[in-house]
Symmetry: C2
Subunit: 406 residues, 2 copies
DNA sequence: GCAGAATTGTTCTAGACCCAAACATATTAT
DNA sequence: ATAATATGTTTGGGTCTAGAACAATTCTGC
């Protein structure tokens, strides 16, 4: 009879929860900070330095981090080596939009190694978006297999996404309904895949690497061609809600008797504050946020100014609500909402201070987004990094399954 | 030379984080469920049954739980003894209101052992409220010292409370501003004291013991004589925000050009939906929620019905916003908001389903609050139980300091 | 330059803790 | 009554972390 556990299989034994937890802590710190000395890691974790030594040794052996010679300057005492995230550990990111599908490769530490934008003639269907993504990934396959260890694929979708099963419940601007995109892409590529709302992932990216770095409570609002999306971080955690739908600040009520919205209600922020109306008034029949920013900075039309003031007023109402409800440290405005804010920052700050409640309003700061076009890639990749970071030593176990034929 | 750690002092050594975490897990489970068999605890925690045996043994020795003979019915196999929270472990609860200060004694498991309502002639000042509370507690002192182990005092205040330092930033209906009530009561009684917003604590109480039991995401809204308070639970955690001010759903914007509110804005839920206006229209010059419920159930006045419909409309808007932003599983309505809801539940449910977004609206359920008048006591006590539950074995270390003279 | 202080890596040991296995116990099913 | 099932109890082993002692490396003061 075979003994229940041979020596060979013992190598794959999973570690104690305590060890897993500590490895997770260290890996996450390195991922979020980019570089940290071993001494800094010791202080951040509160672990003994002998323990940190052992753990880092294991992470180096696993190829998840590497150490470099200490800079050796300024400090008294023996210099501490720097610990870096391994660039060969990476996640794939996919972001379907109305006019393109962008695929990215993001390595540990949040560095975007590759970004490929595939412009589409028309709005892509879910099947088309999956096909485009899997084709691009197939093209990178040999490089991925030789030079990277891929933790999985994260997909950032502009719409309501059930985070548990990766089904897009409704993406109005893409015209998708009940599309199981995570499963589709997973079957097409063989990589584990997860999907979430794009603005939620943007919030996470800005929290970890961007304007809100270090804050525990922030609200991220993104205004784009297809409306306003939002993500909320509370106590360092993204608000998910029962099914991962949380964060739809774009559908905050801001006006009695306002226009009716595709969501079924009236007077939503998204219908009253829109980029397309601003573009129109600025005389830009077609254009994106960058064009708008230029046009508004130079425009002196009263009509444009009135519309800007009107939209700012509604934005103020939504922000006031959000501040009262969440008491955040920071609000990060991205896309054309950042543009709007930049036109009258003192006014927005002032209205917020006077209209929101005493306590919460006093400490909130408004920022423009910092990560630019890499944001969605970083956020989507984070979706694939999260399970890896929870159990870094278990990476080898989630092997890629064979992709479906066809 | 003395050795660095004598045998005598070794007895007070603190356990490993792992042990502390497991003890915390078990104690919390017993506290929240009231009674659980050891077998159930084994399943819930995922720990080995030998480990659970050791841990329960330690908790019994510490006097935090006790075991009773198994019921012995139905199940195959050896019966598993029941584990109960010790009623001698308790927290004090204090709830100042405009017309009274209520002091309670709540034992582990959320059982209210005592509740003393001290009616005041006029609105109590912070100092008066503290004096009343400390006097009542002084009266119970001998009983507390002999029969209970007190984890601390929790204070539920109707207003903005900074949870970190226990300072009431602003309680408009009490007329308090920047009152360090937690420190005041702690100095007066010698017990550690924490303070928080009353509705936030109500939300936690309803989550753990009441209508939302078992849910991870719920919104609690309470309507009383002094306005509308709210608390939000996300992923099993109360939303605190940067300073513990989060949850002010009462100041959601629901009406353009609405009345101005004491908070500085206009069109707040709290100004448009108010108990006092309903009482007035119902012909009750003075009265509370119970009176209102009776009056509305029998009233056939068109004026009253119109006002009810109007208030329900605004409540709908606030609920729609909240559902879009939080994607909760449950909304719990307390006070006169529960009364309002009971007048037309299908209508509210229907409006919510059509006005809120597809995904989040589909799964939310609205409940009336379940805990009644014990709610505030249980919620406030939870504030004092939380640090205890995080480290149950450390209870003995937080000894009461000598109360200030006077 | 050189001695001393300061800080951190490294090695070794011991203690805490959890799990698994074997055994014991109590109840239901046949 | 006997078997099956579920659970408490005891014991031994392996993992993991902290702590102490020592080594390494840099800065400071003279």
């Amino acid at each position: 009879m075979m003994p229940p556990r041979t020596l060979a299989s013992a190598a794959a034994r999973e570690p104690d929860p305590s060890r897993r937890n500590n490895l997770s802590l260290l890996t996450s710190l390195v991922h979020h900070h980019g570089v940290l000395s071993r001494a800094q890691l010791t202080r951040h974790t509160g672990l003994n330095r002998s323990t940190v030594g052992t753990l880092i040794g294991q992470l180096v052996t696993l190829g998840l981090v590497y150490e470099t010679a200490p800079a050796g300057e300024g400090q008294v005492g023996r210099p501490s080596p720097n610990v870096h995230p391994s660039p060969s550990v990476a996640a794939l990111a996919v972001n379907p939009e109305v006019d393109a599908v962008t695929i990215g490769l993001v390595s540990l530490g949040g560095k975007v190694q590759k970004k490929i934008r595939f412009d589409t003639e028309r709005i892509p269907s879910a099947r088309e978006a999956v096909n485009i993504a899997s084709a691009v990934i197939a093209g990178m396959r040999s490089e991925l297999d030789t030079s990277y260890r891929i933790t999985g694929i994260g997909m950032a979708v502009p719409g309501l996404v059930n985070r548990d099963d990766g089904v897009v419940r409704h993406a109005p601007h893409l015209g998708w309904r009940n599309e199981p995109v995570a499963r589709m892409l997973s079957e097409a590529t063989g990589y584990p895949c997860q999907a979430a709302n794009d603005a939620s992932l943007g919030a996470e990216a800005e929290l970890i690497f961007g304007a809100g770095a270090g804050q525990g409570n922030l609200i991220y609002l993104n205004g784009g061609a297809s409306g306003i999306g939002g993500g909320i971080i509370s106590d360092g955690q993204l608000l998910r809600g029962a099914s991962g739908y949380a964060g739809e600040i774009g559908h905050t009520f801001v006006r009695s008797g306002g226009k009716s919205c595709h969501c079924g209600a009236t007077g939503c922020l998204e219908t009253e504050v829109s980029q397309s109306r601003l573009l129109e008034l600025a005389g830009l029949s077609r254009g994106d946020t960058a064009d708008l920013e230029k046009a508004l900075a130079t425009s002196s039309s009263a009509e444009v100014n009135d519309e800007v003031a009107r939209q700012l007023m509604f934005l103020d109402i939504a922000l006031r609500n959000a501040v009262n409800i969440f008491n955040p440290e920071a609000i990060v405005l991205d896309g054309f909402l950042g543009t709007l804010y930049a036109l009258a920052p003192e006014s927005v700050d002032g209205v917020l201070l006077s209209q929101a409640m005493d306590g919460p309003a006093g400490q909130v700061k408004i920022y423009r987004a910092a990560l630019g076009s890499d944001l969605m890639m970083i956020g989507a990749a984070e979706l694939a990094f999260t399970p890896f970071l929870a159990d870094p030593a278990g990476l080898g176990t989630t092997t890629r399954t064979a992709p479906a034929a066809g």
